[in-house]
Structure formats: structure tokens, C-alpha cells
């Protein structure tokens, strides 16, 4: 219990520091003004979300191989946290786009691919709710999870190559735009903070999942009597 509190405090601290850095340490961007600072959380959330999905992928492989409950618990925890982070990405995108370009959504390659990613993992979570038997659910969703993750580079690749022909506002700047050194430091600090948050959330969700599975087993056994 005390460990979780300390971890939680640390994460909050990191997040607060990152927020401070984003608003006060990073220099203002040339054209976009204050709203641009959302970039630090937008982009860092994307990275954290992707890492969470990678954790889910590894957990899926482990489950298929070893069939131990804990891997499934880790997989669903990582997937949920990943979806949460990607939802943040999809929300902060329009929040940024509207004041800057006057439109809510741009079919920017990365944002579009991220939307598909979100759909994939929401499907993963939905699939889990639709299979009765826990062991079948764990195995089938693990395999779908593997298929989904393997698809991710293909999604990003195809959209980047063929859906970005038209000039359009590119969130976070195109390949040419580099980050000014201080900005870069703030960005990587945000990435660190958000990854810390991700790890914390996954760990907590994992604990909850393990308790839930235990409860489920007890409940089924009681029903059987």
C-alpha cells in the first residue's frame, strides 16, 4: 500500500514538473502561440500509448506461449491504458487544430493512423466482453491482439505513403521541422513523465485485474455448489 502511494506521488510530481516545463520553460513557438504547448502532451501521449500497446503485444505472445493468467491480466491492463492515452491524443489533436487552423480535424497521416489504432484496440477490448468462457476469451483476444499489433506498422505505412498527397496542416510539423533544443528537452521530459504515468496506471490496473479474476473464480465456484 505504501509503495503505491509513494509511486503515485512520484508520478504526480513528474507530471506537475512536465506541465510546468511545458508552460514556463519551453520557449513560445513562432506562430501558434500558447495552444502549441499542448503539443508536449499530445505527442508524448502518443508515444506512451504506443509503448502500452507494445507491452500488450508482448503480454499476448507470452500468454499464447505460457497460458498463465498473469499475462492476460497484463495484456488487458496495458490495452486499456493505451486506449486512454490514445484517446487523449485524439482529443488534443482537434483542441490544437481549431484555434490554429480553424478546423477541428485534419486528416494528417499520423492522426489518421492513430485513429485506426484506437479503433483496433477498442475492438480488442470489446471482443473480450463478448466471449463467455474466460480461457477462450484470453486466448482468442491474445491472438487478435497479436494480429492488431502486427497490423500497426502496415496501417501507418499505407496511410503515410498514400493518404498524404494533398497539402494539409500537419500536426507537430512535417519531417523538415526540427525542435529547438530547449523544446526538445521539454518534450523528452514530457515523454518520461507520461511513461511514468503509463507504468503506474498499468500496474494499478493489473492489480485490480488480478483481484477481479480471483473474485470471478470464487464466485463461479460458489455458483456451482
Amino acid at each position: 500500500m505504501i509503495k503505491q502511494v509513494i509511486a503515485g506521488v512520484l508520478v504526480v510530481g513528474l507530471m506537475a514538473a512536465a506541465a510546468y516545463a511545458a508552460f514556463f520553460v519551453a520557449p513560445p513557438e513562432r506562430t501558434m502561440g500558447l495552444i502549441q504547448r499542448i503539443f508536449y502532451f499530445h505527442a508524448a501521449s502518443a508515444w506512451a500509448g504506443m509503448t502500452a500497446f507494445f507491452v500488450c503485444f508482448v503480454a499476448n505472445l507470452q500468454y499464447v506461449w505460457r497460458r498463465q493468467q498473469k499475462w492476460d491480466s497484463l495484456a488487458v491492463s496495458a490495452a486499456e491504458v493505451g486506449v486512454a492515452f490514445i484517446t487523449v491524443v485524439l482529443i488534443t489533436g482537434p483542441i490544437w487544430a481549431h484555434p490554429v487552423w480553424g478546423i477541428w480535424w485534419t486528416w494528417d497521416a499520423r492522426l489518421t493512423s492513430t485513429f485506426v489504432l484506437w479503433l483496433l484496440y477498442v475492438s480488442y477490448l470489446l471482443l473480450r466482453t463478448l466471449i463467455e468462457d474466460p480461457d477462450r476469451r484470453d486466448l482468442l483476444s491474445a491472438i487478435f491482439g497479436i494480429f492488431a499489433f502486427v497490423d500497426v506498422p502496415l496501417v501507418y505505412g499505407s496511410i503515410r505513403w498514400w493518404r498524404t498527397q494533398h497539402p494539409q496542416p500537419v500536426i507537430m510539423g512535417g519531417p523538415g521541422s526540427g525542435l529547438e533544443p530547449t523544446m526538445r528537452k521539454v518534450f523528452f521530459f514530457s515523454v518520461l513523465a507520461l511513461h511514468a504515468l503509463m507504468v503506474f496506471l498499468i500496474a494499478e490496473r493489473y492489480r485490480l485485474e488480478k483481484l477481479r479474476t480471483k473474485l470471478d473464480v470464487v464466485r463461479r465456484e460458489a455458483e456451482a455448489l
Binding site: 485506426v116 483496433l120 475492438s123 471482443l127 486466448l139 497479436i146 499505407s158 498514400w162
Partner: protein, 224 residues
Amino acid sequence: MSLLANASVLLGKELRTEFRSRELLTTTVVFILMVIVLFSFTFDPTSAESRRFGPGLLWLAFLFAASLMLQPCFLREQTNDTLSALRLSVEDPFAIFLAKLTANTLFLLLTEFLLLPIFSVLYNVAVLPVLGWLIFVFFLGSLGVSIAGTALSAISAQARMRELLLPLLLLPLLTPVLVASTEVTKALLDPSPYVSWKGIGFLAVFDLVFLTALWLFGEYLLEE
């Protein structure tokens, strides 16, 4: 090779079953036709517009149709538990998937060929000059759809709400196929047609990746 022999025997069964009733093929053809016609109401079907939107709509129609057509794939093996009979009779369960995905690809291709002339007429696009290449991209794209679709149909057959679940799982997964196939088709239907080798290569990679994934994990989909 036992795997290929088994797969071809099973493919024979799949084809014989379908051609006897032809339910799947006829309903799929009618569905795609309906989608194509309905789509035409949503924009101004001039030649230029058609060339811009046509390929994408065509492939979208194929995807929707496939997500419906693939529903019975494993469901019909549940009626009399024939899936268990198959599992007992074949050495490598991948033969079951291989047969089904081949059959599904063939069914999809068949419906696509039946619809191509209709599409060409309704949307005023010339398909004959590039027919060979069109067949090729239809094949690669349909193969991708079938591989993923056959795998996911095995999953959805074991879940609730499977009529909604299969499209839900399949459509996001097939985004790369939609994008790449549309791209290659659009290039072929251009006033000065060209072959998008990047697109073709990409589709081939997609097919290979998912075929490998199915080969590695397919038997677990059938496990009890």
C-alpha cells in the same frame, strides 16, 4: 505433402458446398451491386469524379461485402460440429485455414469479376485496357481480405454478437488493404494508366505477414 493434399481436399468440399446452394455468392453479388448503386447517389457521377471516387468506393464495397460473406465461414462448421470432425481427420489444422481462405479468395474474386463490368458501365471507366493488372490487384487485395477475414471469422464464431463483431474487428485491420488497393486501382484507371509497384509490393507484404501470423497461431483459434 500432406498439408497441401488435405487443403485441396477441403477446398473441394468448400467449393462443392457453395456451388450447390450458391447462397453466399448470389447474396454477396447483390449486396455489392446495391452498395455501388447507392454510392453513386452520393456524388456527381461525372467521368472525372468517378475516377477519383470510384476505386475507393469499389474497394469499400468489397470490404463490406466480405465482412458479411465471411460470417458463415466457421459458423457453418458449428451446426453439426463438423469442425471437430475436421480436426480429428487432418494432421495439420492449418490445412483447414488454407482451404477456407483459398475458397474465400475465389468467392470474392468471382463476385468482383461479375461486378467489374457493371461498375465500368455505371461509373464510365474503361477497364478493358488494364484488365490483366486489375485482376492482379483484385487478387492480392482479396487474398489479404480473406486471410484476415478467415482468421477473424474463426474468432467471431466463438463470440456473441458475431454479426457485428466480425466487421468491427475486420475493417480496422484491413485499412492498409483498402488504402493500397484503392491506390493501385486508381493508378490503373487513370487516363494515362500506370502500375503502382509500391502498392503491389505493399499488398504482397500484407498478405505474407498475415498468412504467416495465421500459420503460427491458427491452431489456437480452433483449440478448445
